[in-house]
Amino acid sequence: MIGLVKDIFARRDLLSMLVVRNVKIRYKESALGFLWTLLGPVFLIAIYAVFMKIIMKFPMPMPVLVSGIFVWQYLAMCLGDSSFAIIGNANLVKKACFPRVLLPLSIVLANFVNFILSLLVMIVYLLWDGPHFGGIAWLPLAMVIHLALCTGISLALSALNVFFRDVQHLTGIFTMAWFFLTPVVYDISMISSITDKHPILGQMYFLNPMAGILALYRAALLGNPLPDLSLIALSVGMTAVVFVAGIMIFQKLQPGFSDEL
């Protein structure tokens, strides 16, 4: 693990260039360019707002929906891109010598750059919407855990997809299921009637790292009350498990990359 960090640090120039490359080529040749980072979530928000708030009369405050979609978007981007981190750079992997981990890592970081920019836009919206930001101190923690989760998952997916191309097809379905298991288009308080009666269900719910991460973001940005800290700890613990497992899977599989591509 220390060796890995050293390798990455030694090639930080390459990492930063790969990040810049990924940021640049995502919206290359599209007229609206970076705006798509915002337009994607904005359209999603519009769809859910119309469908859930207006048609289904679901009592959901807009800031909850906005923060949910924007935060989710970062993970969804990483899930979508990371399968191709290694197989999309087969030429480089086969012909050049550099730490392979830079490829998925650069995707995670490039998406993180996009996420931070969209976060700024979201903050502007929240400022306009009204008084928020009660627990802003939670924001750095939320972002660090969020980043760790995306890194762990992306490393695992990028490596697994080299050997099992099924992964790239599965991620779409998996992302969809995860989306509804996570309080993205609803607030955690909306399921509290169930979790209050059966605490064990609440604990299971927070084994989903995104449940805790979103709770932290909403505490930071919207000033929503934070759930019991033991529940947050469950999410953080699971994130650590995913992060370490992702690195281990990647390191275990990477010697076989160039032969498999």
Binding site: L18, R21, N91, C97
Partner: protein
């Protein structure tokens, strides 16, 4: 610092062949219970050993699939080094089509381990060498294939690597760019840099290499002096080529047992100089005694065109009957062929041309070296006069 730049010891590479091509659940289960080392394994390289001295150039030759490129990618990808290795395994391998030439140059530099400042210092030289002018700020997907390759080569040589790996670069680009590449490679040698080169152009590789390694099916068949190893490879290749082309048939009352080629002093060889003597000792064995017979020969070029053919009848030599076994000798006093590979065919048939006892088409290959300059395959002495 030791004077050995590359040391390769016992390197092997095994690929596992999958029966279906894809990875299926069944093949995964089979792989798990399947013991290594069976016939489904392909050794792309096996037990390869060599060293390359600092400042010298090693040429790699061998047929397609011999393992040359595998060897270079093993060297480029797997081995930890202290210096900068620049590989031209595939020119512009890391280029992204949507990025501009400039962006790709910096990215390629970073992949090879150079800092941004180091690349900035070299940038002008790269653009100069590649000779692509203002196109440097265009996405490389709009480049012509020549520009793409030039930029790739420029990056690889201008990053000032300690070891340069070159895979078939000389096969691309126009003549003037190739000359530029060769010049740059000569400068490299003067700067005491180490190079590994793959090329199918035997003349060039012989000229630029200090040593040559001859690979076939992942094994080293020859290593050493360029002239010697190239000769060895040519002989090997000719034998393979004639084995592929040769065809024999006949009633087999008389069987041709073999042909030994030699030069004017009688030394066995299959490599001849233009305008020198070629001798063939053709062996035969008679299974059933036959009457008057004719021996014939033909020479074809690589494209299969018959260059020349003749026989004992045309040469007014009569063979009343054949029995037992023996030899006939054919001599071509002056071999007037252009440089290249040629295939000999031999036959023995009845004097009335009705029974073909034994015929071997394209069974023997020879190489001809020539510094004679003319068009075509066969030299015809000619004179010019202004009248």
């Amino acid at each position: 610092m030791s004077d050995i730049a590359i040391q390769v010891e016992g390197v092997g590479k095994r690929f596992r062949l999958r029966s279906s091509g894809g990875r299926t659940l069944k093949s995964m289960v089979m792989d798990m219970i399947h013991a290594p080392g069976s016939e489904r394994d392909l050794w792309a390289l096996k037990n390869v050993n060599f060293t390359v001295k600092r400042g010298s150039t090693l040429g790699l030759i061998g047929a397609n699939g011999a393992g040359k490129s595998t060897l270079l990618s093993v060297l480029a990808g797997k081995i930890r080094t202290t210096g900068v290795i620049s590989s031209l395994l595939e020119l512009g391998a890391g280029f992204h089509p949507d990025l501009t030439g400039r962006e790709n140059v910096f990215l390629a530099g970073a992949i090879m381990g150079l800092t941004r400042e180091q690349m900035t210092r070299r940038f002008d030289a790269i653009v100069n060498f590649a000779d692509i002018g203002t196109f440097i700020d265009q996405p490389v997907k709009h480049y012509s294939s020549g520009m793409y390759v030039r930029l790739g080569f420029a990056v690889a040589v201008e990053v000032d690597p300690d070891i340069l790996l070159v895979d078939e670069v000389l096969a691309v680009g126009d003549a003037s760019f190739q000359r530029k590449c060769l010049r740059r490679m000569a400068e490299f040698r003067e700067q005491n840099k180490t190079m590994l080169i793959i090329s199918h152009d035997l003349g060039t590789i012989q000229a630029v290499s200090d040593q040559i390694l001859f690979l076939d099916h992942g094994r080293v068949l020859g290593h050493g002096d360029p002239g010697k190893v190239v000769g060895q490879y040519e002989t090997f290749w000719r034998n393979q080529a004639s084995a592929e082309r040769s065809r024999e048939w006949g009633t087999r009352e008389v069987v041709l047992t073999g042909a030994e080629f030699s030069d004017e002093s009688g030394d066995a060889t299959t490599k001849f100089k233009w305008d020198h003597t070629l001798k063939v000792k053709l062996g035969y064995e008679v299974k059933t005694p036959v009457g008057a017979s004719i021996f014939g020969f033909g020479i074809s070029d690589e494209a299969g065109r018959l260059v020349h053919g003749s026989n004992t009848e045309i040469a007014a030599m009569s063979i009343p009957g054949l029995s037992g076994s023996g030899f006939v000798e054919l001599e071509i006093p002056r071999l007037n062929l252009a440089r290249g590979t040629y295939f000999f065919s031999f036959s023995v048939h009845s004097a009335d041309h009705k029974v073909n006892y034994h015929r071997m088409d394209n069974a023997f290959a020879i190489g001809v070296e020539s510094d004679m300059n003319f068009e075509g395959i066969c030299n015809m002495p000619s004179k010019w006069r202004i009248v």
